[in-house]
């Protein structure tokens, strides 16, 4: 099944026309029935309803809505005169099998040369809710759900643009997951889209559950700790990124959309910044940038100060720190790492548990572990403060993935600072920054607009200027049309 693809480019465009075998309808009904039953391994939820000697109805019971069949399908079959009104006319039996799996009902009659297909799939879906992981204060509260059509509908409703392109493909040789790639034809760069499809054409796997499965096949650097595609459940975030010339990938059965090519700063922005006044937006973004610095650097800075450079902090503070550290028997690095492990355990336990028990975890974690550990002199008070601040800072990032990455990176930095103090931190940070400079998302620099530095595009990185200043689209995704606005405040000049 998984034939390795040989040379380059061979797999190009193979996704668009899946190598489907041809098998036209048999003239005899019995042969058709036998073929369909065989290709669906005689599954017991395949229902074949004999309407007469020469006519039959095929559907998979578990996938169809019985109301649809009685209301639509049967009425149409009964009321047909010459021509049957149907959704699809199929002559290929393999295609028919696939459509049966999509929830179609087929009507085959020996008097017809084709099988008449009716879309009767049962639409089992939850209602549209605000995503749990990406809540915002102001702005749209819609979130994606597990149904692909609904998700595309949500995007299309937000941008009624005829140039919005949706390209379907089926990935997963056994799971046959429907995946949609969405982009705006006259914005997204052709090279990037071609590159995406070239990479997707190599994604031959048996099972794809969510875009997360695809992500690791197509992202540039799998070994990097930084996510190179933005995973979101918010349609407004998807639309905003589509409008900058990026593309989104949505898979059926998952509420997550993947956006690429993305840059680092997209992970610290939220729709909130743009729905508030710009000063408030800037304030919040600035705080989030600060939270990254705290999450990545505070524990290591603390370790460096208390174990190497007491002289940096003023004398009074040294006394205060010494007071809390005096009775702690372990070096600061052990303290910090053990506290961070406790913290990770608590957050992990609280995530998985049902919410009533999760509260217990909160009490156990906060009161019992937090206070008892300090009172037992296992960890110093100041370290508890540092670790708590680090945790809060990393959870302040709007995309949890980035928060986790940042928290993860603080560990090697802590080790470096416990070995070499401030020097270790600087060397560690240099390595991280070089990695960020090196990283690319679909051939576009990841750390833009800081590296390569583009001053004019720094309008919404660590601050957000008023929206009318965003005259051009960010050049990162190399959009075809770079101009975004006219003169929204031209009225002032024309007074």
């Amino acid at each position: 099944m998984f034939r390795r693809r040989g040379g380059k480019g061979e797999g190009l465009n193979a996704y668009e026309n899946p190598q489907q075998e041809e098998k036209s309808l048999f003239p005899k009904l019995a042969d058709n029935i036998f073929f369909i039953q065989n290709s669906l391994v005689h599954t017991e939820d395949l229902i074949i309803q004999h309407l007469s000697e020469t006519e039959s109805l095929f559907f998979i019971e578990s996938l169809v809505d019985s109301k649809e069949i009685s209301d639509k399908v049967l009425t149409r079959i009964m009321n047909r005169d010459n021509e049957i009104v149907c959704d699809k006319k199929i002559t290929n039996l393999y295609e028919m099998t696939n459509l049966l799996l999509d929830g179609y009902t087929f009507f085959i009659s020996e008097s017809m040369t084709f099988a008449a297909g009716f879309n009767s799939s049962a639409q089992e879906k939850r209602s549209i809710q605000e995503p749990l992981s990406e809540k915002i204060l102001k702005g749209s509260h819609a979130g994606f759900i597990e149904n692909l059509d609904t998700n595309i509908q949500l995007v299309r409703k937000a941008v009624k643009n005829p140039k919005l392109m949706v390209r379907y493909m089926t990935l997963g040789e056994r799971s046959r997951t429907k995946v949609a790639v969405i982009y705006i034809e006259d914005l997204a760069n052709d090279d990037i889209i071609n590159e995406l499809f070239r990479r997707l054409s190599y994604a031959k796997v048996d099972y794809i559950q969510s875009p997360g499965h695809i992500q690791e096949f197509i992202e540039d650097e799998t070994y990097s700790p930084f996510p190179q595609m933005l995973n979101t459940e918010r349609p407004d975030r998807v639309v905003a990124n589509l409008m900058e010339g990026r593309f989104a990938i949505i898979a059926d059965g998952s509420p997550t959309a993947m956006i690429a090519p993305i840059n680092f700063f997209a992970f610290i922005q939220t729709p909130d910044d743009y729905n508030n006044r710009w000063l408030i937006g800037s304030f919040l973004t600035l705080f989030r940038t600060m939270s990254i610095l705290i999450a990545i650097g505070l524990p290591s800075l603390y370790i460096a100060v208390v174990s190497f450079h007491y002289e940096i902090i003023p004398f009074e503070l040294v006394l205060a720190l010494k007071g809390t550290l005096e009775f702690v028997p372990v070096p600061p690095i052990i303290e910090a790492v053990s506290m961070l492990i406790i913290l990770e355990l608590l957050s992990e336990a609280a995530t998985r548990l049902p919410s009533p028990i999760a509260q217990t975890i909160g009490v156990v974690g906060g009161l019992v572990i937090g206070t008892a550990v300090v009172e037992a002199n296992l960890v110093s008070n100041s370290m508890v403060v540092v670790v708590a601040l680090t945790a809060v800072a990393s959870y302040a990032l709007p995309i949890t993935e980035m928060g986790t990455t940042i928290r993860l990176l603080s560990f090697p930095l802590m080790v470096a600072s416990s070995l070499f103090g401030l020097v270790g931190i600087v060397f560690g940070l240099m390595v991280i920054f070089l990695h960020l400079c090196k990283l690319e998302s679909f051939g576009t620099p990841y750390f833009t607009p800081l590296a390569p530095f583009r001053l004019s595009e720094n309008k919404d990185t660590i601050i957000r200027l008023p929206l009318w200043q965003f005259i051009k689209r960010p050049s990162g995704p190399r959009p075809k049309d770079s101009v975004r606005t006219g003169h929204p405040r031209g009225w002032k000049r024309d007074e």
Binding site: F420, V426, M430, A451
Partner: protein, 365 residues
């Protein structure tokens, strides 16, 4: 060519970051030994000398557009002599890299990590330089430009020192040490300001015309010169001539006395920040030497050179234990820098003109 091109702006920062480095910290007192409190004039003079060297190097490169110095020497001197000269260049770059790494490690040991063995410090410095230097030119350019931000912080920090007493009189009378001494002092300053050799290798990969590159490289050199003059004057204003003679790294001592409500020992913070420009100039020489070795020995592939060159530097570094040996080494490297920044380019230029290899037409574009 596997290297992608870089922009003019990035060229500016690459030259800037390559020139700025460890040399600054001891510069004011080094210069002082010859030219007394006219040291800042020596620095200025050194900047002008460097500018002339840049012009020389640029003139040579301009005659062979799209070629790096390694290719040029093979064209001008023929295959075998050219190869020999390239190896000399590579060895020079490697020695400068070794010197920078050693000075760097010694400085860290002296100021921050007194108990860490020198070899361990050398190891982390070289490991970081290896990680940074093994990336391609475009990534390096991005990194150099990103980290140039810290230079601004380091310029601001000495301002705090001025809140204490400083004395204009220390600078006067201007010109008391005489032209000869000032020129002697300039020699010390030039050593601290080399690093512009990077243009010999990266200029072919810069977008835009060669005229623009000259402008940006000169601008970078000017920035470095002014910055060094600024630091030198700052040190001379605050320390009396008697003090400057004693202290080895006046730029750091400048900040040592400053303290705030929340932060003390600004010198440690400054030094931690200054690690970045020090590393970038180390990485520059690592890049240059690995390029040279790759060009002469591995058909341009840097795959192997990036591994064995740092290893060589590390082993070399283990042999230098005493300060005296370091001083001698530093002296030889400083002397050889004139050969490779003035003598060799000049020789190449003259030979290329004599052998009619120099392309005048392209230089007028």
């Amino acid at each position: 060519m596997n290297e992608k091109s870089i922009s003019q702006k990035q060229l500016f920062f690459m030259v800037l970051q390559s020139q700025i480095g460890i040399g600054l910290l001891a510069l004011p007192s080094n210069v002082f030994s010859h030219s007394k409190n006219d040291g800042w004039m020596s620095v200025l003079l050194a900047g002008i000398c460097i500018q002339i060297m840049i012009l020389l190097m640029w003139t040579l490169l301009n005659g062979f557009k799209g070629k790096s110095i390694f290719e040029i020497s093979e064209i001008v001197f023929g295959k075998y002599v050219g190869k020999f000269i390239n190896i000399l260049y590579t060895v020079y770059f490697l020695l400068v890299m070794a010197l920078l790494a050693l000075l760097f490690a010694n400085l860290l040991k002296e100021w921050i990590l007194g108990y860490t063995p020198l070899s361990i410090l050398l190891l982390i410095i070289l490991a970081t330089a290896l990680y940074i230097g093994k990336s391609n030119l475009r990534v390096l350019a991005r990194f150099y430009m990103l980290t140039a931000g810290v230079i601004i912080i380091s310029i601001v920090l000495p301002w705090f020192a001025f809140t204490f007493n400083f004395e204009w009189a220390y600078l006067f009378p201007v010109g008391q040490s005489g032209l000869g001494n000032i020129t002697m002092g300039a020699h010390d300053a030039i050593v601290a300001m080399i690093g512009f050799e990077i243009i010999a290798v990266i200029l072919p990969f810069v977008e835009g015309t060669y005229k623009q590159t000259l402008k940006n490289v000169s601008l970078a050199n000017m920035t470095v010169t002014l910055m060094y003059v600024y630091f030198t004057i700052a040190c001379y204003l605050i320390f009396s001539p008697a003090e400057i003679k004693i202290i080895s790294e006046p730029v750091l001592y400048l900040l040592k006395a400053v303290n705030f409500q929340w932060v003390e020992r600004l010198d440690l913070i400054f030094l931690s920040i200054w690690i970045i420009p020090m590393t970038t100039s180390l990485v520059t020489y690592f890049y240059l030497s690995s390029k040279g070795a790759a060009y002469t020995l591995h058909k341009g592939q840097r795959k192997y050179t990036i591994w064995y060159l740092p290893l060589f530097v590390f082993i070399l570094g283990l042999f230098f234990s005493s300060e005296f040996e370091m001083k001698q080494f530093s002296k030889y490297v400083a002397a050889s820098s004139y050969i490779f920044t003035v003598f060799m380019p000049l020789l190449t230029l003259l030979v290329s003109i004599v052998r009619k290899k120099y392309n005048y037409r392209s230089s007028s574009v």
